[in-house]
């Protein structure tokens, strides 16, 4: 039996994601490399593309620190979630063939088993699961047992499936998925009671998520039909009443409840659920079925007039529906599917189900039925993935344009620095600073050597000294002892004053020296950085890399366009085939209703009861 996704199993929660990556990192403090943490930030939001990009950049630039080895395992897991099972498999195999320290081998084996299972390679999946030694994360242990049970079910080994299922605790969602699938397998073998026992595993459990509640609705619906097959109609009705009216499964449950009543010839009891059902838009098969089932019940009750009236209403509704489905077929054959479906391409890479992806178009009700099929889901997911990649690439092209402009601007600036003497001016300023520095150093050295405060004299003081020394020479030449004595006293005053200020002046000179040294160091660093940058830019300009990148983006966009067209074509075929099947089914129902009308008219010629 083919597996199906249904709106009832809408993945609005992050349950699946949290299970897959359980134990990757439990708290911010465990992150020891920022880029690894950034990758997790995107991963936990379901943005696999950005998460993988961060990991790959981190690996390329060796920025993942102690996470380097574990990051590769994470990349494998995220690749698997992003639908890249081929890449994921290569990663896990490489990790297992070249053991690295810090890599959880059990997790690698687990993911490898999952890849094999997804490919339908049961033996390889089993072999990988057999390699598990001490898988640490409970969620993964439970999923591993789910995989074991699923593989056993596929092989028809119910006993092995049971053994694996028993190892899954009740608080794990995998318990319920396993139980459901075991029920489905038992039902396929016509083991109706056993099937119901599995389906009813949900009975006393306080289910914590909408996803599991939806699964319970589905299980009770399935159990009801299994009970009908076992001719236990009361049991079937009890199961059908467990289904929530708000559930997408309620249509089938209401229909089934009615049929269970019919089987016990309680035609009045059958009418109530069917009338509820018939008031809904006739887009689901169950509602369409109820349109014919109601007059059938009236016939059984001997109310041929009501039956005729209801068959006529049913025929009108089915005919209108058939026209609508045919119009939808034409639309799907001729229209641009991407704009028709209007899939939300922003947001996360996670694939959402049911109403989350239901387009707001007139064809929405038919799509609701369509998307219940796995084939259509897969085709739509592929198209959405390609649309998102197209979006990423378009944004990459914009980013590259910005890079090109920035590079051009920087080139202009460098050219002005190099060609218009900017670098020379900086060099000149640096040389001047060195001269000043040398002068101050000599001044301090001279003062300290001679212990002479005159070395620190400012311009005014130097003039004073010059005047005194000139006057002393003159007075000595003129032989004027009185003036010589006065000048000697004045000179002593200057020496005393310089001596008094020596400490302060030396401190000031040293401070000036330190400032000059700082400036010179900065200038030297600036000059070195400039030389390095000029050298680097001369060696490897960004322009060639930008050009190559532009070519790669253009080529990739063209490849995506081709794949999108192919994907759209596949999706169109699936959609049209599904709608044609609906049209055929409607035609059959319409034929049945017309036949019944004719039959009742024919009987009416004998005498139709009101």
């Amino acid at each position: 039996m083919a597996g199906i996704f249904t709106p009832a199993l809408a993945a609005r929660s992050l349950l699946a994601l949290s299970l897959l990556f359980a134990g990757v990192a439990s708290a911010a403090e465990s992150v020891q490399a920022l880029r690894y943490g950034v990758s997790l930030y995107y991963l936990y939001q379901g943005d696999y593309f950005e998460s993988l990009t961060e990991l790959m950049v981190g690996q390329e630039l060796a920025q993942l620190g102690p996470h380097q080895d574990n990051a590769e395992l994470l990349r494998g897991g995220v690749s698997l979630s992003y639908g890249m099972d081929r890449e994921a498999e290569q990663i896990f195999q490489a990790l297992l063939s070249e053991p690295r320290e810090g890599v959880d081998r059990d997790r690698a084996w687990f993911y490898l088993a999952k890849v094999a299972w997804q490919r339908g390679e049961l033996d390889r999946a089993s072999a990988a699961l057999a390699q598990l030694r001490q898988l640490q994360q409970p969620a993964l242990v439970h999923e591993a047992n789910y995989l074991r049970a699923s593989i056993a079910l596929r092989r028809g080994d119910m006993q092995a499936a049971n053994a694996a299922a028993q190892a899954i605790p009740l608080d794990s969602p995998w318990y319920f998925y396993t139980a459901y699938n075991m029920g489905a397998t038992a039902a396929a073998d016509q083991q109706w009671q056993s099937a119901s026992d599995y389906f009813r595993s949900f009975a006393d459990e306080d289910l914590y998520s909408e996803e599991l509640k939806s699964l319970r609705d589905r299980a009770y619906t399935a159990s009801g039909y299994a009970q009908m097959a076992a001719a236990d109609y009361a049991g079937a009705q009890a199961d059908f009443t467990q289904v929530r009216l708000t559930s997408p499964m309620s249509d089938r449950a209401l229909l089934g409840y009615g049929w269970a009543s019919i089987e016990t010839e309680d035609y009045l009891a059958a009418l109530s659920p069917w009338q509820v059902l018939s008031e809904k838009p006739p887009v689901s098969q169950s509602v369409r079925e109820s349109l014919l089932a109601i007059p059938y019940a009236y016939e059984q009750l001997g109310r041929d007039g009501l039956a005729l009236h209801n068959y006529q209403d049913a025929a009108a509704a089915l005919e209108a529906e058939l026209d609508a489905v045919r119009a939808a077929i034409e639309l799907f054959q001729a229209s641009d599917l991407q704009s028709l479906l209007q899939l939300e391409v922003e947001g996360s890479d996670e694939w959402l189900f049911g109403d989350d992806i239901l387009p707001l178009s007139d064809q929405a009700p038919y799509l609701r039925h369509l998307i219940a099929s796995h084939e259509f889901q897969s085709a739509m997911k592929e198209m959405r993935d390609l649309q998102r990649i197209d979006l990423h690439l378009s944004r990459s092209a914009q980013r590259l344009q910005v890079l090109g402009e920035a590079d051009d601007e920087q080139q202009l600036r460098w050219r002005s620095v190099i060609e218009e003497g900017g670098r020379d001016a900086l060099e000149q300023r640096y040389q001047q600073l060195l001269v000043q520095l040398d002068a101050v150093e000599q001044k301090i050295a001279s003062a300290e050597k001679q212990d002479d405060g005159r070395a620190f004299a400012d311009a005014e003081r130097r003039q004073q000294w010059q005047r005194v020394e000139r006057a002393q020479q003159l007075s000595a030449a003129l032989d004027k002892p009185q003036q010589q004595e006065m000048l000697r006293l004045y000179r002593g005053l200057l020496i005393w004053d310089d001596s008094e200020n020596y400490t302060e002046k030396r401190w000031q000179a040293q401070r000036e020296l330190a400032q000059l040294q700082g400036l010179a160091e900065q200038s030297q660093q600036g000059l070195a950085a400039l030389d390095q940058t000029i050298g680097r830019r001369r060696e490897s300009g960004f322009a060639p890399r930008i050009a190559v990148m532009g070519t790669r983006i253009d080529a990739q966009l063209a490849t995506v366009d081709v794949a999108l067209a192919e994907s759209e074509q596949g999706l169109r075929q699936v959609a049209v085939a599904e709608l044609e099947a609906q049209a055929q089914q409607l035609s059959r129902s319409l034929g049945q209703s017309r036949l019944a009308i004719a039959r009742l008219y024919d009987r009416g010629s004998v005498g139709v009861s009101p």
Binding site: A25, A28, Y296, S396
Partner: protein, 185 residues
């Protein structure tokens, strides 16, 4: 001629429902195991496209960092959350040398990602060498759901090489209050 008798017992139409209901189910993120006959060529092609696009994005990312945020001037600010019991983050305003460079409002999904160990790159830009003042103001709901607004500031010395800062919101079990810590990497 149409039959004039009562209709025969209605054919067991519910058998179709039985068949539809009894198919195995898959977990939300599960992929249907492929049957050997399934044509996987488009899927293979899409996987190749994804890998090539990822490699392209990686190279573009590196080129962007080298060109727009060279290591000598690069300043990046990250945000992480540890536990977050005493503080529900609503928004962060980041100011660099008196100029607002980031004003970020968080969704529940982003907060959940932070609580689970994710680290957000809040700001990536360029600054000159020397001292710079960074101020982060966090708003949200503190203990008992009260409005809460706290700021933290730091003066950094930007030298050669990239500068990475992590703003950490940590629960202090001693004071039962959130702590806002800045870590220089």
């Amino acid at each position: 001629m149409y039959p004039t008798t009562r209709p025969p017992k209605y054919p067991a139409a519910w058998l179709l429902c039985l068949a539809l209901c009894l198919a195995p189910v898959l977990q939300a993120d599960e992929v249907e195991p492929q049957s050997p006959a399934q044509d996987a060529s488009l899927n293979e092609q899409i996987q190749t496209i994804k890998q090539q696009t990822l490699e392209l994005n990686r190279d573009l990312f590196i080129l962007e960092e080298e060109l727009l945020y060279p290591s000598d001037t690069q300043l990046s600010v990250f945000l992480s959350l540890d536990v977050g019991e005493f503080f529900k983050l609503d928004a962060v305003k980041l100011t660099l040398d008196g100029k607002v460079v980031t004003n970020y409002l968080y969704t529940d999904r982003q907060l959940s990602a932070l609580r689970r160990g994710g680290v957000q790159r809040l700001y990536l830009g360029n600054v000159k060498s020397g001292e710079h003042e960074i101020v982060a103001v966090f708003t949200g709901f503190g203990p008992k759901g009260r409005d809460y607004r706290r700021g933290t500031e730091l003066v950094i010395d930007k030298t050669t090489g990239p500068k990475h800062l992590e703003l950490k919101i940590v629960d202090s079990t001693d004071t039962r209050q959130p702590d806002f810590v800045v870590k220089e990497w």
